[in-house]
């Protein structure tokens, strides 16, 4: 009965929340003292999130897999000489891989070639040449011993191809290069959607057999990862009245398992459980949802310094999307960010058609633009994955 009442209460709250039909006086209980962040504040918060280092649990997973694959290769040099790190299409793979390599302390590593491209080359027909020259300029005269090794790291494999005729030849070249070069170990990062696509086109798994997926963050990992920001922003955790009502009701009726924790700690625990759950443990999605749950707290007007309140995290709703948007968003996720020119080439459409839909998606916040690169805002990823999967697209 208690459970039923709790369920009924939850459904009531959710329904009102979704339909936005709460009477003004009740609806405003939790929001009257909170304002949205300004654009400048959003930028500041986003920069701080971007500067967070990768969680150690993810770095150690990569390092462990790397050392294991490396040891196997050193024992059998003609065997598999690569490790592919797979992630979601919205994960910052370059950063994860470079930080993992930094934490890798190896005296035997005598040379690292890190393909540190910040984007796909503008002329995609030059990708192959550029990639080969970046990799082949290795100091070939350095001789390796049985324990020492050379490493080639390609953090974003999806930036080496463009889904159009003639845009895939770099993958063919790389596949043959890795298979034929037993003198170097290859660490390759790739988003899982691109990996699935390349598997369909080139059966790439047959060549690069060692793969590891970046492990999703658990509740406590998300909390640890965002801890620095939480401390810095001096958050008010008790400002969302609606959320608090729900939580207090739950606390009263559920088993008192967190009784030892103080009130704020309980809210924090619940917050991180929720954000980890809806972000599917993807750090970038968690970060994006974190700043979206931040509000300016005006409860205490005596204090001059801006105070922030945190509200219940939730995935942003998708705007009305037409089928052309599905193709466009799939292409953006597959390629992991791209320019409008590349997007147009990958869709085989005229730029005017693509541009109008891009503007629509930009205005609705589904995608963003940074340094001329279009990308899907991470907070929308879980809903988009679901939507595209249900519409017959090849997703993770």
């Amino acid at each position: 009965m208690e459970k039923f009442k709790l369920g009924l209460f939850k459904a009531k709250i959710s329904f009102k929340y979704l339909k936005n039909i709460l009477p003004k006086d009740i609806k405003d209980l939790g929001t009257e003292s909170k304002k949205e962040l300004t654009a400048a504040q959003v930028n500041e918060v986003k920069q701080k999130i971007a500067s967070l280092t990768t969680h150690p649990v993810q770095k150690s997973a990569i390092v462990d897999a790397f050392q294991q694959a490396l040891a196997q290769w050193q024992q059998q040099p003609e065997g598999n000489n690569s490790l592919v790190v797979l992630s979601s299409p919205v994960s910052p793979l370059t950063k994860v891989i470079s930080e993992s390599l930094t934490s890798l302390e190896s005296d035997n590593l005598i040379e690292t070639k890190f393909l540190s491209w910040q984007a796909r080359l503008h002329d995609y027909r030059q990708i192959k040449t550029q990639m080969l020259s970046s990799i082949e300029t290795s100091t070939a005269n350095i001789q390796t011993t049985s324990e020492s090794y050379k490493l080639v790291a390609i953090p974003r494999l999806e930036w080496l191809f463009l889904r159009c005729i003639g845009g895939l030849e770099t993958i063919e070249a790389l596949r043959d290069l890795v298979a034929g070069d037993s003198s170097r170990f290859w660490l390759i990062g790739c988003n899982s959607w691109a990996w699935q696509y390349l598997e369909k086109v080139y059966q790439i798994n047959a060549y690069l057999t060692n793969t590891i997926s970046i492990p999703p963050l658990q509740d406590e990992h998300t909390q640890e990862w965002l801890q620095a920001l939480t401390t810095e922003f001096n958050l008010n955790w008790q400002a969302d009245n609606e959320w608090l009502q729900l939580r207090i009701k739950e606390t009263k009726q559920a088993t008192r398992k967190h009784q030892e924790l103080d009130e704020v700690a309980k809210i924090q625990k619940e917050y991180y459980e929720k954000i980890t759950d809806i972000s599917q443990g993807i750090s970038n999605v968690s970060g994006d949802l974190w700043w979206r749950s931040l509000k300016i707290d005006d409860t205490n007007t005596d204090i001059e310094e801006t105070r922030y309140a945190i509200t219940r995290p939730k995935l942003p709703d998708l705007p009305i999307l037409i089928i052309e948007d599905h193709y466009l968003l799939y292409s953006l996720l597959l390629h992991g960010g791209m320019s409008l020119v590349h997007l147009t080439a990958s869709l085989g459409k005229s730029q005017s058609v693509v541009k109008s839909r891009t503007q629509y998606l930009l205005q609705n916040g589904v995608i963003g633009k940074e340094q001329n690169l279009l990308y899907v805002n991470p907070a929308y990823y879980p809903r988009l994955k679901n939507l595209l999967g249900n519409n017959n697209f090849l997703v993770d």
Binding site: R163, C164, I165, V201, G348, N390
Partner: protein, 281 residues
Amino acid sequence: MMDNIFWLAQANSRGLDVDRIISNVTIIKIFQGLILILVAYILLLVSEKFNYWLSEKVPNRFRLIVKQSLPLVRAIILGITIISLLRLFLRLSANNLLALTGTISLALGFAFKDYASSLIAGLVALFEVPYRVGDRVQIGEHYGEVISFGLRGIKLRTPSDNIVTIPHNKIWTEAISNSNDGALEAQVIADFYFAQDVDLDLVMKILYEAAYTSQYTQLKLPIVVTMDETPWATHLMLKAYPMDARDENIYKTDLLKRSKQALAQHNVQYPPQWGYSSSNH
């Protein structure tokens, strides 16, 4: 059937015909009957509109399932309405039912043979499923998407956006070619003709790439290029599936357009045209 007619004739001769079968017809019953027909008509309209709306709202993978439920819903509505009307106006004892069946059979046999045949074929089609709403079928000379499944026939939307009505009784005599048979994908074949000394490796590579890089391609299904030789050209067929069968025409256009652009960049030779040579200039 002859027995039924004979029985009915005997019944008529004994003056038992109308009174035995038809119950008292009153104004209220007529009014109830009209209300029933009106309600059924509204329900049919609403179910059709709702079904169409819902099928376009749900994710693609559920679209055909929703569409395919419409004939069943219509059959249920019509079935209930007909039974209700019969119960309202007729005394349906075993003997009466037999007599009525005989009469109806006789009438249909002579006057509405084709209509009855289509109705029965429609019922058979519900269970044998040679086509469903959303399928892309070829019946006789007509090809298109089944957009409606009625009692008497189906409606096809052709690639030129014409609506063709085809009676169900075609299933007795015509071959029905169904491209997707309830699936969301239907194979598309793009035909290419090249000069006989064409670089086949290059051409096949381009065709495969055209399919793998088209935004419409269903990557979960196989892509194949097959070849045939004719006296005047080498014929290559690119066979692939779009993610949504409704995109088949635009998909084929996309494959042809991008392939031809890439082939032109490599100066691939097409077969010489009949009756045309450089000496004609």
